[in-house]
Symmetry: C2
Subunit: 112 residues, 2 copies
DNA sequence: ATACAATGATCTATATATGAGTCATAAATT
DNA sequence: AATTTATGACTCATATATAGATCATTGTAT
């Protein structure tokens, strides 16, 4: 068996994973697609689709996003900006920031 | 080397991955956290943080979400409903749907 | 200008995710 | 009610992601 990997995840992470999994399964059923079909179209195995729909944290993020994409799920809630725009925006913002973080003696980071 | 896995991903998937990666790096720099620090707090290695920030599709989704969670990134844009609420909603919706998809002779699924 | 710490890149070894089956059960259509 | 397909659960073999180094370089701060 896959041994379930005894890693620990935050509550938030688990819930996000479970929501994502539920959205995927919901979309698949809505589109009346079998797990096998979805697997084929996504270029992965049926077993992996099953694990994705069970919110297995060890699945490759690329596979999960691809499945979501095939199902037409909207990632990162595109409201005003498109996905590409948001990406470009974030990247240009990063360009303006210090490229590496320097730990001075100034205690831990207290930015709140 | 990791051999980069020659899998193919949709354009949408790639952009989503890159946006996610950018948001993570941006948040880390904003919080003045070193890659090592983020790795420690997330329970992963620095190398993995690097790959995540480079939008490597093969990273485990659990690790990526955990990193995002540590950085306080909001997954699935919680507007009206909380993450948990959305999850519960999706799950109860699934419960009302047919549990398995049946392929009749009625051509492929033409739902558009 | 110098020092030092963080990053990026790369390598190796090990753990483990994934694909490819199989089987039993559940559930949808007839 | 009977049939047949999709699903869920499991096993095994193999590919590969990950941790854990090290080293060169870049960037920050003094």
């Amino acid at each position: 068996m896959a041994k379930a990997s005894n890693r620990i995840y935050s509550h938030y992470t688990r819930e996000a994973l479970e929501l994502f999994a539920a959205l995927i399964r919901e979309a698949r059923l809505e589109k009346k697609m079998t797990a096998q079909e979805l697997a084929d179209r996504s270029g992965i195995s049926r077993g992996l689709v099953q694990r994705i729909e069970k919110a297995d944290p060890s699945c490759a993020i690329g596979s999960v996003f691809e499945v979501a994409s095939i199902l037409g799920l909207v990632l990162f809630d595109s409201d005003e900006h498109s996905l590409a725009e948001k990406r470009a925006l974030a990247i240009s913002k990063i360009a303006l920031m210090p490229k590496s973080v320097r730990k001075t003696k100034r205690e831990v980071d207290d930015d709140f």
